[in-house]
Structures are given as C-alpha cells and as structure tokens.
Symmetry: C2
Subunit: 341 residues, 2 copies
Amino acid sequence: MAGTGLRVTIADVAKLAGVSTATVSRALSGADGVSAQVRKKVSETADRIGYRPNELARSLRTTRTRTLGLVVSDVVNPFFGELAVAIEEAAHASGFSVILCNTNEDTSRQDEYIQLLRARQIDGLLLTPALDESPALRAAALEGIPMVFVDRALPAVEVPVVRADGRRATKDLVDHLVGLGHERIAIISGPRQTLTGRERLDAFRARMRRHGLRVPRELIRVGNFQMRSGRVAAAELLDLDEPPTAVFAADNLMALGALHEIRRRGLRIGRDLALAGFDDPPWFQLLDPPMTTVAQPVKKLGELAVETLLQTVAGATASSHVLECSLIVRNSCGEALSPRQ
Amino acid sequence: MAGTGLRVTIADVAKLAGVSTATVSRALSGADGVSAQVRKKVSETADRIGYRPNELARSLRTTRTRTLGLVVSDVVNPFFGELAVAIEEAAHASGFSVILCNTNEDTSRQDEYIQLLRARQIDGLLLTPALDESPALRAAALEGIPMVFVDRALPAVEVPVVRADGRRATKDLVDHLVGLGHERIAIISGPRQTLTGRERLDAFRARMRRHGLRVPRELIRVGNFQMRSGRVAAAELLDLDEPPTAVFAADNLMALGALHEIRRRGLRIGRDLALAGFDDPPWFQLLDPPMTTVAQPVKKLGELAVETLLQTVAGATASSHVLECSLIVRNSCGEALSPRQ
DNA sequence: CTGAAAGCGCTTACAG
DNA sequence: CTGAAAGCGCTTACAG
C-alpha cells in the first residue's frame, strides 16, 4: 500500500533513503543528532520524490497548528479590511497562517466561528468582538484560549486589547473646527457599547465644553459604524430647525453615508457644511474638497495584535496596547487657518 | 493520563457513556446503525463534558479538511477585497473555512503560499494568479489539485476560470463617450499578461474603430492595476501636446490614481476632462461628479468560484464561467444625453 | 548517531 | 446494533 498512493509520505522517504522514519523526521526538521552524511542523503531523497510533510499529522502530534483564527466584525469596512491584511502579513512573517471569518456583527455567527476555529485547533484567536457578549467568547476566554481583541474591548471579558486611542486626535479636531469659527458642531458617533464609540463621543463633548460650547442632545446622533446609519443621521441633522454648521462622523463608513446625504441635497462640504471623518481610506483625499479626518495606525495595529497574540501563545502574559491616532487636516471643514497638510 | 488533560477527547465521552469510541463517533456523526437510546446517552454525555471533535484528527483520518486556500494577488484592492469576502461567505455557507493569503503580485510568494496550503492539506485552491507563470502553480495544476482561477487565467495552465467579461460593457462605455462628443479618448489599461487587461483594451479599440475613430499609440497607456500607475499614466496623458478629452481607466485603483493627478492639476472631471473607471467601490458614486464606470458582479463571481471549486473537489469536472459586466452611467464624463441612473 | 515503538484523536472496515 | 483493532502521517521519549 504505502508508496502506491498519490501522496508521498515520510515512510516513502525512509524506505528509499534506507533509514527509519524517525531519522527522516530529525534530518528534515534540522534537529541535531544526525550525521551530516545521513542528513544529506535524506534531504536529497526527499527533494527527489517531492516530499512535503503533512502538516495535519504534524499538528496532531505536536498540538500546534501554526494557524491563527481571525474573526472580524465587518471585513467590508475598509478599516477592518486593511487591518485584516496587516494581520495576515504579520502572521505570515512569523510563520503562521490565518483563517478569515467575517461575522457581520452577528453574535451567533461569531460564536459559531469561535467553536469552529477551536475545533480546528488554532493556536490563537484574534478578534474584533461583535457588540454583545457571547457565550462561546466568554468560554474561550475563561478556558484560557490564547486570544487578543483588536480595536474593541468587552467589559466583562479579560483579554489583552490592541487598539488606537482617538481621544487626543478628536480634541485636535474640535480645536480645528472651533478655530475655523464653528460653534454648532454635531457628531455621528458609534454604538455606545463600543469603546471606540464612547471614547470619540466623550472626547468630543469634553473638548467642546472646554471651549465653552454646549452640545445639545439633538446634535448627538448614534450610528452603528455602517454607511446607512451615517446617511440617516445626516438627514436628521440637516432637517433640524437649526442644523449644525459642522459634522464629525466617527468612522469612515458613516462619513461616507453622511456625504451621500449631503450630496443628495445639493450641498457641498467645506462650503455649505463642514464634514470631518474618522479612519483614512485612500479615497478620502480624493473627495472635493479632500476630507479632514482622524487616522488610525492600522498597519501597526495589525502587527502589534499579532505580536501580542504570539506572546500569549508562547505562554507569556501579554498586556494591552494603546496607540495614538492623528488628525489629518485637509479642506472639508473649510479653509484651515493654519493648514498642516 | 486520558481524561486528566485539558482537552476532552472521544475516549472521555466513551468511558463516561460506557460505550466504545467507535460508537461515540457513529452516534455523534449521525451515522445510522446506532440505537436511539445509545445515541441519546452519548450526545448527552458529550454535551455535558463539552466535547468537540478534534478536526485535525478527523481530517487526518478522512483526508478531507473542509478548508479552502484563497490566494489573492492584492487584497487591498477593493475589487479583490470584496471578492475575498464573497468567497469566504459562500465557502462558509457550504461548511468550508478559508485560509487567506495575499501575494502582492509576487510570484515567489504565491508559490510559497501554494506549498504551504498543500502541506496543510486544503481540499481546494482558489486563486487570482500573479502575472507570471510559477512552478508551484504548474505543479499543482498538473497533479490535479482541485483548483479554480478567479478573475484571471494563465495561458499555459488548464484550470477552470470564473470571471467577468468586460467587453460588452466596455463597448457600451465607448458608445456613451462618443455620444457625448468625445473623439480623443485615452485608455489606461491593465497589464497585457492579464486576460482582463487585454480584453478591456481590445474591446475599447475595436469599438473605437467601429466609430471610425483612431486611437493613436500615445493614448494607450499600460498600468499594473495599482494606484500609482494610474497617476503616472494620467500625468503622461495630460502632458501630451494634444491631451485626450476623455480617459478610461480600466480598474478602480488606476482610476483613483488618475483622479489624483487630475485633481493635482486643478482640473475637474466631467468638465475639464471625462474620466470613466472600472469596478464600483462604494465611494465612486460620492465623487463630484459621481464616477461613470463598468461594474463587475463581484458577489456572484465569488459564489460561482466556490461552487465551481466544490464541484471539482467532489470529483466532478467543472467548467469555466464567464459573467457579464454592466456600464453604470453617472456624470464623470459630462452630462449624459440619456442618463440611465 | 540511529531505530523500534508509542501515541496524537479520530473513523471505518471487519466481526459478531 | 456494538466493539476491538487498524491506521491516517507524523514526532519524540526511550534504548542502545
């Protein structure tokens, strides 16, 4: 039987090289305690017959798969898309593959994926958790599955978090808007359950207060980080008896939606209405005028997330990391008094 | 030992339920030939102790992993990004996971990924091949690894291809441009090695000829489907003694680059210069004016690719599929005579 | 330095 | 309907 089938196994190499499978394994893995002569013979034989170790068998034996699970709440969102790419890149550089899972913010789907990934014996789990708690997630955390959260945290779950803090940059943005003469500034914020949602809103209000400006309830809209919610919020704001002169959309997709509504009404940003966004997809600078926004260090976020996870996988206790965001001033809020870019 | 460790195995369930592991396996997999009584007992026990079969062990035994490898040439490109999401979605619906690999058009990296995925015993391979031939790819095809190409084909490799044909829509676009009075129309085409690159260029030239318009060599620029190449090409076109009045960028990223250059020079699309694109990322309609473009049925492409691959995996001979693209007329080429949207 | 053997956690002929 | 046993393809103590 052996050697007859299509797949070539370690036994085939052993037979042809005239050694045991143990020796083949050692020779090929670079373990020491193999004579140079035998090592050479083995690796030549392996090359000749095109042997590649079956990772499944190896993993079953070693209980390590060199595979990471990546569970993302919305990969279509350019922010998460870029993040996913950065993560794959970093994982690959460390010899890990990544299984991609998209939950669309669906908690039960998230749970399904977590179970699936665990059954597949992934070494670690990287996720941007859906908004609500979920049983499988709690269970995984409790059982000590190596895991790190990216961008979001869950209050009751203790897991290292890698994310970017938008507070300082949001304050810079408020200063920028106020500097341009805006006083009636609205915010389209993210869901209150998310750290990023709360944080951007809190920083916004705090800084407005610092400038002696109040933010009436009607100027605070809560979206869900998706395009449609941005459009709806913008419509509500523009329908106000006294609409805002500036709008801060706390995510690239909600900014996209807001822009949609603004355009639909024949208004122009930077002139009829100031609009600032969050995140910095490539097309932000191609809008007319280019979009002023708060950018996150996406690539670094991905790298750090993988690094942190791999520490946990290696048995070390990893800690959370918070990076800084930065304000990128363009012209969507009117001509800047002191343009920085 | 058994039962002491953290992971709970089939042996633990067997012992507690008082049956053999064979029976547990049968009961849980739903195989028939198990009494209702035993089945109940087993599944209750399994639930109680939180047993989940180790997929690695299962795969080693069954030689099927229910995992697909997805090798994409450039996931950051929104077209490929959307495609990847659609593929993951479709695969998941059929019970398959997908390992994401990004080659950045690097042939050697593509080969590395192919080897890696094969070592991981994936059931099938989905890829948008890098431009050049590559040894590992040829080998995989030759050895009959279930495989389908998406969006691109490789001349010497016989593998089913799932893609969208842009010829008809490109002709529609030329008609549209000519209808608006344009005669000096340039194209920023994709690499000649790609089917999509050649196809869009060929259709463009053929249709221009049909209108009795010639396309001088200087109006044909070849990019690489990336942003920078679109910018460079646009710059060259605008620097011509007699620049074109309309530009067709045959990919969303090259359109983005071209737009960049156009803006940089203070020109406005739809007025100073007509610009049409390919693909339809969400922000195309938010440009000012919104971008006229040729859209691909990305989601269907993904679904069909997975469907085709799974046929091959199941041992059937699958064939290639070609879908149609559609012209979406907006206003980036000037006011349309008979606007369709 | 090398080999025989056990075992990772399953599934599946083969018996009964 | 159920179980004992073999085996998927590796790695790794254990001997020598």
